[in-house]
Amino acid sequence: MTLVLAVVFPLSCAFLIPLLHLYGGALLRKFLPVMGLGTLALTLAAALSGFNDYALSFFGGWPARLGVVFVVDSLSSIFLILVAFGSGISLLYSYDRMGTGPWRFYVIFFLLQASMNGVLLTGDLFNMFVFYEIFSLTAYLLVSYSLTWQAVEAGLKYLVMGTVGAFFILLGAAYAFIANKTLNMAALAVSLPQIPKATLVVIAACMVVGLSLKAGAFPFHFWLPDAHSSALTAVSALLSGVVIKVSVYALIRISLLFFGDPLPTVFDVITALGVISLLGGHLMAFKQQDIKRLLAYSTVAQIGYIMIGAGMGTAMGIGAALFHSVNHMLMKSGLFMTAGHLAEEMKTRNISHMRGLFAHRKGLVLAFTVLAAAIVGVPPLNGFMSKWYLVMASVEKGNLLAALSLVFGTVISASYYLRVLHAFYAPGDGPKKYKDPRCPLAVAVVLSGCCVVLGLLPFFYPIGDIFAEVGAKALDVKNYVAAVLLQ
C-alpha cells in the first residue's frame, strides 16, 4: 500500500494545489510544507519497505503477468531515498525563494515527483514508459517555467530531444511486447533470452539510446546544458541532482534484467558511452565562461562516471555507480543552489565577473568550495571515495582505459573548478545589497557537511560493501523474477 501511496499522494497533492489556491494563498502556504513532508515520508517509507526484502504491490489483485505491479528492491530503494531527499531540498529552496506565489510551479513539481516515484517503483515496462512521459512533460515545463527566451528555447530543445528519446524507449518496449506477449519486466527477463538475437539487439539498442538520451550521456546530451543552465536555480538543482538519476536507474535496471545474461556487450556500450561522456563533458566545461553551463557540462561528465560504474556490470561497479549517484545528488544540488544564488545576486553568470564574493558571502563561497572539492575528488571528501570505488571496479574488470579516463577527468575538473574558485576569492565588488541568504546557506552547509561525512565514513564503516551488496542483489535476476512472478 505504501508503494502505491508514494505515487498517489504527490499526484493528489498536484490536483489539490489549484483547489487550495482558489480558497486563498494562505491555505496553500500552510499546506505546502505538509505536502512536501508527506511526500518525503511516504517515499522514504516505500524505500525502507523494500530495502532488505522485495516489497510488492499488485494492482486490482491481478497477478504480475497480467496486471501492473509495483516492486521495490534495494536498488530502487536507494534511488527512492535519493529522489526523496533531493526533491525535498529543492522544494524547500523554492518555497523559501518564491513562497507560494507561482502555484502552477508546485503543481508541476508534485506531478514530477509522482512520476519519478512511479518510474522507480513500477515493474511493468509500458507503465514505466507512461510514467516517463509524465516525467518528461513536467520536466519540459519546469525548464521553461521562467518564460525567458533562453528558458523557452531550452525547453523546446529538451522537448524535441526528449521526445525522440521517449520514442526509442517506446520502440524498445513495443518490440519486447511483440516478441514476448508480455510487458512485465520479470516475465520479460525470463523470456527475452529465448527470442532471436537480432530482435534482442534492436531492443537493446533502442533502450540504451533512449535511456541514455534521457540521462544526458555524451553524444545525446545536447539538450542538457541549455535545460539545466537556463532553468530556475531550484529546478537546475533538481534536474541535475535528481531527475537524470531516475533515467540512470532505469538504465541500470533494464540492462541488468533484460540483457545481463543474453547480451553482455550492452555493458560495453554503456561503458563506452560513459567514457565518452566523461571526456566530452569535462572538456566542454574546461573553457566554459557561464557558471551554470559549466555545472551542466560537469553533470554530463558525472553521468559518465556513473555509466562507467554501471557498465562494469559487476556488483562492485553497480555499487560504485550507486554511491556516486548519491554523492552527485548532494554535490551537484549544492553547487547549483550556491552558484545559482550567487549568480542571481551578482546579476551575471559570467565567471570572470563573479569576483569578490568571498568577502561578501563567506558562508556560501566556503560551502561551494567544499562541494567543488568533493566533485573534483579531493581526498577526504565523498567524491574521492566514490571515484576510488569506480577505479576499483574498472580495475577489477580489467578496463584500464576507464580507470585512466577517471584520473584524467579528475585533473581536468580540478582545473576548471579552480578557475571558478579563483574568481570567487579574487578581490572585487560583491553584491550591492546585503541580504542574509539564510535558507540557501543552511541548505549549502547541510549538503557540504554530508559530503564531508560521507567522505570520512568509509574509513570507519564499510559503506562501499553496503553499496556493493545492493549491486549484487540487483544482479541477482533470478531472485527478482521469483519474487515477482511466484508471489
Partner: protein
C-alpha cells in the same frame, strides 16, 4: 620490509625537524595575518605528512599525501596561482595513478598495504610516485613550483613533499635490484645538474638541484641492497636538512635585496649578511659532499653500495653529477655572495639580527645547519639507527674522492666562470611539456565545441548516427 617502522620514523624525524625550522623562519619571513596562515598551513602539512608516513595502506597514504599537496598548493598560490595550478594538477594525476595501482594490488594480492605491489600494477604506482619525485619527463611541475613558491613553501616542497615520493618508492621496492630505477636515477642526477647550471634564478637553480639529488636517492634505491636503501634514506634526511637550509638562505637574500636573479644581485652579500653567508656555505659544502658534512656521509654510502654491486657506470655518472653540483654552487656562492666585493656592500644596513624576529628566522636556519654538521661529523648515528654497519666513513679513499670532486668542480668553475655569469639558459627541453600537453585536450575541446552548433537538426543527426553505431556494434558482437 627490512626496517619496518624505523623507515617511517626516519622520514618523520626529517619532516619534523624541517617543519620546526620553517616555523621559526616564518616568524621572520611573513607578517601579520599571512604569518598566522602560514604557521597553520605548515603545522597542517607536518601532520598530514606524518599521517602519510605511518599509513598502513596505499589508499590512506594517497589521502594524506594529497592533503600535503593541497596545503602546499595553497602556499604556492599565495605568490603564483598558475604554478600552483600546474603543481596541483600534476599531483592529482599522480594520486590517480597510484590509486589504480593500489586497486590492482588489492584485487590481485588481496591487500593494498603499503609495500610491494604485484606485477604490472607496480608500474602505475611507480609512475604515480615518479610524478611526485620528479622523474625526468614528468618533472615539469617541480622547477616552476619551487621557484615561484614563497621560500618556506619551497623548503617544505623540497624538504619533504618530494620525499614522500621517495618514501613510497622505497616501500614499493623489493630487495631486487631494479635497473630501471638505476637508469632513471642517473638520468635525473645528471639532467638536474645540467639544467641547474643554466639557471640564473637562484631558487630555480636550487629546484633543479633537488631533481639531481632525488636522482641519487632513486639510483640508490635501484641498487637493491640494504646498504643502498640505507644510503637513500640517509640522503633523504641529509637533503631535507641542507636543501631546506639553502632555500632559506636564498630566501634571506631575496628578502634583503628584493631579487633572486643572480644577474641582478649585487654579489656582496658576504659583507652585508655574514651570518647567512656562513650558513649558506654549510649548506653548499653539504650538497657538494665535502667531508664532515651530512652530504658526504650519505653520498659515501650510496657510492659504496654501487661499488659493492659493481655498478660502475652509475657510480661515474653520480661522480660527474657531483662535479656539476660543485660548479653550480660555486656559481651561486660567487655571484650571490662574493662577486661584488666589499665595495658593493650597503653601508649602514645590517643583517637585522638585533631584532627578535630576525633572529627567530635565523634560529630556524641554525637548527638545520646544526643537524647537517652533526650528521656529517657523526654519520654512525644514522647508520646505527638503520642497523647498518658501515665502518670507515672517513677512510682515506672516500675523503680523497670527495675532495677530488670538490676541487675539480672549483677548478672548472674558476676556468668558466665568465661563461656561466651571463646566465645563459640553453634550450628548454621537457620543461615546456605542460604547455604541449595542454594542446591535446584543447584541440579536442574545439572539435567538440564545433559540435554544439545550436541547430537541432544537427543534434538529431548525431543521435541517429550514434544509434546506428551502437546498433552495428551490438549486431556485430553478439555471442
Amino acid at each position: 620490509m627490512a626496517f619496518g617502522d624505523p623507515m617511517s620514523l626516519f622520514f618523520a624525524v626529517s619532516s619534523t625537524v624541517l617543519s620546526v625550522a620553517v616555523l621559526f623562519y616564518n616568524e621572520w619571513y611573513f607578517e601579520g595575518k599571512e604569518r598566522r596562515t602560514f604557521n597553520f598551513l605548515t603545522v597542517g602539512c607536518w601532520v598530514a605528512s606524518i599521517g602519510a608516513l605511518f599509513a598502513q595502506d596505499w589508499l590512506v597514504f594517497v589521502v594524506f599525501v594529497e592533503v600535503v599537496s593541497l596545503i602546499l598548493w595553497r602556499m604556492i598560490s599565495f605568490t603564483d596561482t598558475k604554478a600552483a595550478l600546474i603543481y596541483l594538477l600534476a599531483q592529482l594525476g599522480a594520486a590517480g595513478l597510484i590509486l589504480i595501482g593500489a586497486a590492482g594490488a588489492s584485487l590481485e594480492a588481496g591487500t593494498m598495504a603499503v609495500g610491494p605491489v604485484p606485477s604490472e600494477w607496480r608500474w602505475f604506482v611507480l609512475v604515480g610516485l615518479g610524478v611526485k619525485t620528479a622523474f625526468p619527463g614528468v618533472h615539469f611541475w617541480l622547477p616552476k613550483a619551487h621557484s615561484a613558491a614563497p621560500t618556506p613553501a619551497s623548503a617544505l616542497l623540497s624538504g619533504f613533499a618530494v620525499k614522500l615520493g621517495i618514501y613510497g618508492i622505497a616501500r614499493l621496492g623489493t630487495f631486487a635490484s631494479s635497473p630501471e630505477l638505476l637508469i632513471i636515477g642517473s638520468v635525473m642526477a645528471i639532467f638536474g645538474v645540467l639544467k641547474a647550471l643554466m639557471q640564473h634564478d637562484a631558487k630555480r637553480l636550487l629546484a633543479y638541484h633537488t631533481v639531481s639529488q632525488l636522482g641519487y636517492m632513486v639510483a640508490a634505491l635501484g641498487v637493491g641492497t640494504l646498504l643502498g636503501l640505507a644510503g637513500a634514506l640517509y640522503h633523504a634526511l641529509a637533503h631535507a636538512l641542507f636543501k631546506g637550509l639553502l632555500f632559506l638562505s636564498v630566501g634571506r637574500l631575496e628578502k634583503f635585496y628584493g631579487t633572486k636573479d643572480l644577474r641582478l644581485l649585487r654579489g656582496s652579500a658576504a659583507w652585508d649578511m655574514p651570518y647567512t653567508f656562513v650558513l649558506f656555505i654549510v649548506g653548499a659544502l653539504a650538497i657538494s659532499g665535502f667531508p664532515g658534512m651530512s652530504g658526504f656521509a650519505s653520498k659515501v654510502m650510496i657510492k659504496e653500495a654501487l661499488k659493492e654491486q659493481g655498478m660502475y657506470p652509475v657510480y661515474w655518472v653520480l661522480q660527474a653529477a657531483g662535479v656539476g653540483t660543485v660548479i653550480s654552487f660555486c656559481k651561486l656562492g660567487y655571484y650571490g655572495f662574493l662577486s661584488g666585493g666589499k665595495k658593493g656592500a650597503i653601508v649602514g644596513r645590517k643583517e637585522g639580527l638585533a631584532y627578535s624576529r630576525g633572529s627567530f628566522g635565523f634560529l630556524g636556519m641554525v637548527i638545520l645547519a646544526a643537524g647537517t654538521v652533526f650528521l656529517g661529523f657523526d654519520p654512525e648515528v644514522t647508520s646505527g639507527f638503520l642497523k647498518i654497519s658501515m665502518p670507515g666513513f672517513f677512510g682515506w679513499d672516500n675523503v680523497f674522492s670527495s675532495l677530488l670532486v670538490v676541487s675539480l668542480g672549483v677548478g672548472i668553475f674558476y676556468l668558466v666562470k665568465d661563461f656561466l655569469s651571463s646566465g645563459f639558459r640553453g634550450s628548454v627541453v621537457l620543461d615546456g611539456l605542460w604547455k604541449k600537453i595542454q594542446h591535446v585536450p584543447l584541440a579536442v575541446h574545439f572539435v567538440i565545441v564545433k559540435m554544439h552548433s545550436g541547430r537541432l537538426r544537427f543534434y538529431l543527426t548525431v543521435v541517429v548516427f550514434a544509434t546506428l553505431a551502437i546498433l552495428l556494434y551490438l549486431a556485430k558482437h553478439w555471442r
